[in-house]
C-alpha cells in the first residue's frame, strides 16, 4: 500500500497503514472469507444438482411466499413511512418527540420478541385477532402473518431515509406552491414527490431487502407450513436440520446473490440523493 501513499502529498495524518491494514484484515476475515466459503461449498455441486436444489418446487413455493410478503410489507411501509416522515417534519404537536422515538422501536426490539408478540396479538384469541376473526381474517399462522412480521421489522427504513430529505427541503416550496394556487395534491405530486423520490425508493428497497431476509419475527407467526407459509430463510434452516449442507448452501447462495444485487442498487440510489442531505448516511 506504500504505492498509494507516495502519490498523495496531502496525507499529513498518521495511521493510514495501520487503519487500512486492520480494516482490510477485519473485512476479509469477518465478511469476505465466510462468503468465499459459501461459494466454494456451492461449487462442489454440479450445475444440474445445483439447479435441482434451487428449483425444487417446495423451495420455489418459499421464494413466492417470501417475495410476495416482502413486496406487500414494503409497499405498506412506503406509504406509512412517507406519512410518518411528513407529520414528524412538517407539523408540531404534543407527543411528536415520543412518536419520533417510537419509530426506531422495531430496530431496537429483538426480532424474536416481535415475532412472539405479534403472533400472540394476532392469534384468534389475541387483542387484534379476535376482532379480525369476526371477518374471517386469519393473520397468525398464515401468509398475512408473515406480511405483518415483515412490516413491523422494517418500519424505520422509509421514515428514516425520507425524514432528513424533508427536513432539508423545508416547507417554503410547499408554501410557494400553495400560494400560487396549487391544490394539496398538485403540490404533493409536482413539488414534493420529485424531490423525495430517490430517498423514498431507497427506503422502500431497504425495507424490501430486510424483509426478504427476515427470520426471527417471521418463524414465530408464520406457522411454517410447507408450500404455504415457509419463507426461504426457513428452507435453509430446514435443509440444515436435515444435515444437507450442500442444499442449504445452494439456497443460501440464491438469497445472498439477490441481497448483494439489491445492496449495490441501493448504494447507487443513495449516492443520487446524497447531494440533498449532504454526505453519506
Amino acid at each position: 500500500m506504500t504505492f498509494y501513499r507516495s502519490n498523495n502529498s496531502k496525507r499529513v495524518l498518521p495511521g493510514f497503514g495501520i487503519s487500512l491494514g486492520s480494516s482490510l484484515f477485519f473485512i476479509s476475515l469477518v465478511i469476505l472469507l465466510p462468503i468465499t466459503g459459501l461459494v466454494v461449498q456451492t461449487a462442489e455441486l454440479s450445475w444440474a444438482q445445483y439447479w435441482a436444489i434451487i428449483s425444487d418446487p417446495r423451495v420455489v413455493a418459499s421464494y413466492k411466499v417470501t417475495a410476495s410478503a416482502a413486496a406487500v410489507a414494503s409497499i405498506f411501509n412506503l406509504f406509512f413511512g412517507l406519512l410518518m416522515a411528513w407529520i414528524l417534519t412538517r407539523y408540531r404537536f404534543p407527543g411528536r418527540v415520543l412518536l419520533d422515538g417510537l419509530m426506531d422501536l422495531p430496530f431496537a426490539l429483538p426480532t424474536a420478541v416481535a415475532g412472539l408478540t405479534l403472533a400472540a396479538v394476532f392469534s384468534t384469541q389475541g387483542w387484534f385477532g379476535q376482532y379480525l376473526a369476526l371477518w374471517d381474517i386469519k393473520v397468525s399462522y398464515a401468509w398475512l402473518g408473515i406480511v405483518v412480521a415483515m412490516t413491523f421489522t422494517s418500519v424505520p427504513f422509509v421514515v428514516r431515509t425520507v425524514q432528513p430529505v424533508l427536513e432539508e427541503f423545508g416547507p417554503e416550496y410547499e408554501e410557494a406552491s400553495a400560494a400560487l394556487g396549487a391544490s394539496p395534491l398538485q403540490t404533493f405530486f409536482k413539488v414534493i414527490l420529485p424531490e423525495i423520490k430517490p430517498a423514498l425508493l431507497t427506503g422502500t428497497a431497504l425495507s424490501f431487502t430486510r424483509s426478504l431476509g427476515e427470520f426471527g419475527a417471521v418463524i414465530f407467526i408464520a406457522g411454517n407450513l410447507p408450500w404455504q407459509t415457509e419463507v426461504t430463510s426457513l428452507m435453509i434452516f430446514v435443509r440444515l436440520q436435515e444435515f444437507d449442507y450442500a442444499a442449504a448452501a445452494a439456497i443460501a447462495s440464491v438469497v445472498l446473490l439477490v441481497s448483494l444485487v439489491l445492496l449495490f442498487i441501493i448504494n447507487g440510489m443513495q449516492q443520487r440523493y446524497q447531494h440533498i442531505t449532504g454526505g453519506p448516511k
Binding site: 495524518l13 487503519s19 477485519f26 412518536l99 431496537a108 449442507y245
Partner: protein
C-alpha cells in the same frame, strides 16, 4: 410558522394526517409493546420471579451478556479504525470498502449463520485443524460471538463516517503539525468530537448483539443451559408451552430495547447540539 400560511382548503389535512399516523403507530407499535408486559405479568409477580430464577433462564441471560460484552468492544475498535481509514484518507477502493462493510445489513441472518457454519463447522476447511487443537467454535459460545460480530459490525462505521466526513481534518492536521503523536491526536482531538456518535454506534451494536436470533440459531444448536441466548430461550420456552416464561424473557429484552431508545434519543439531542 408554516401552518398560518396554509389556505383554508388545507386546514383539514393536518389533523387528518396526524391522527392517521398516530393511530397506525399505536396499533402497529404501541399495542404490541404493551402486550409484552401484560403477558409477562399474567403469571403474577411470583411467577415472574420463579421464571427469572430458573437456572436455564439465568444461564441464557449470562450468555447473552457475554456475547454482547465481547462483540461490542471488537466492533468498537475495528469500526473506529475503518471509519478513520475511509474518512481521513482517500485511496482507490474507498467506496468499495464502504459497500463491503454494509454487506452484513443486506444478508439474511440465517445466511450469515450458515456462512460461518460452513467455514468453521465439522465439514468445513478448518475442521481438522480445529479438531487437532481441540477447539470447538460452532455449537459453542465462540461461534455465537463470531456471527454476532458479523451481523452487528456496520453500526459503528455507519454512525462515525457521516460525522467524521463533516468534521473534516483541519483540527487533526493542526495537531500533527504542532508535533502531536497519532495517539495524542486521536485521544485529544478526534475522540472528544466523535464521542456521542461513537456511543450511539455502541448502543445500536449492543441492541443488535443482545437481540440477534437468526444467525445465532444456526450456529448455536440451542443446547439448553449451554449455548442458549435469551432470544433463543424465548423460542424454547414457547415450544415448551410456557408462554408466560417466553414473555418474561421477551420483557427483559424489551426493557433493553426501551433503554436503547431512550439513550439514543439523548445522544441524538447531544449530536444535534454539537452540529
Amino acid at each position: 410558522m408554516s401552518q398560518t400560511t396554509l389556505n383554508s382548503r388545507q386546514r383539514w389535512l393536518r389533523p387528518l394526517l396526524i391522527c392517521t399516523g398516530v393511530v397506525l403507530t399505536l396499533l402497529l407499535l404501541v399495542v404490541p409493546l404493551v402486550f409484552i408486559f401484560v403477558a409477562a405479568f399474567s403469571a403474577g409477580i411470583g411467577g415472574v420471579w420463579r421464571n427469572l430464577a430458573e437456572p436455564d433462564m439465568l444461564h441464557a441471560i449470562g450468555l447473552t451478556l457475554l456475547v454482547a460484552g465481547l462483540t461490542v468492544p471488537i466492533n468498537l475498535v475495528f469500526g473506529t479504525l475503518i471509519a478513520w481509514c475511509v474518512t481521513r484518507f482517500s485511496f482507490p477502493g474507498r467506496r468499495l470498502l464502504l459497500t463491503l462493510i454494509d454487506i452484513p445489513f443486506a444478508v439474511s441472518p440465517v445466511v450469515a449463520g450458515l456462512l460461518y457454519l460452513l467455514l468453521y463447522g465439522s465439514n468445513g476447511p478448518f475442521a481438522s485443524l480445529l479438531d487437532q487443537h481441540d477447539v470447538q467454535l460452532m455449537f459453542a459460545w465462540p461461534g455465537l460471538v463470531m456471527v454476532t460480530v458479523f451481523v452487528s459490525c456496520p453500526f459503528v462505521v455507519r454512525e462515525l463516517v457521516p460525522l467524521m466526513s463533516t468534521l473534516g481534518t483541519e483540527q487533526e492536521e493542526a495537531a500533527v503539525l504542532l508535533g502531536a503523536s497519532g495517539w495524542q491526536v486521536f485521544w485529544h482531538i478526534t475522540l472528544p468530537n466523535i464521542r456521542w456518535a461513537l456511543l450511539y454506534g455502541v448502543i445500536l451494536t449492543n441492541a443488535r448483539a443482545v437481540g440477534e436470533f437468526g444467525a445465532v440459531s444456526v450456529v448455536s444448536g440451542t443446547i439448553r443451559g449451554q449455548t442458549n441466548t435469551l432470544p433463543l430461550h424465548i423460542e424454547l420456552l414457547q415450544q415448551d408451552y410456557n408462554t408466560a416464561g417466553a414473555f418474561i424473557a421477551a420483557a427483559l429484552l424489551t426493557l433493553i430495547a426501551i433503554a436503547t431508545l431512550v439513550v439514543k434519543a439523548f445522544l441524538q439531542w447531544k449530536l444535534a447540539r454539537q452540529e
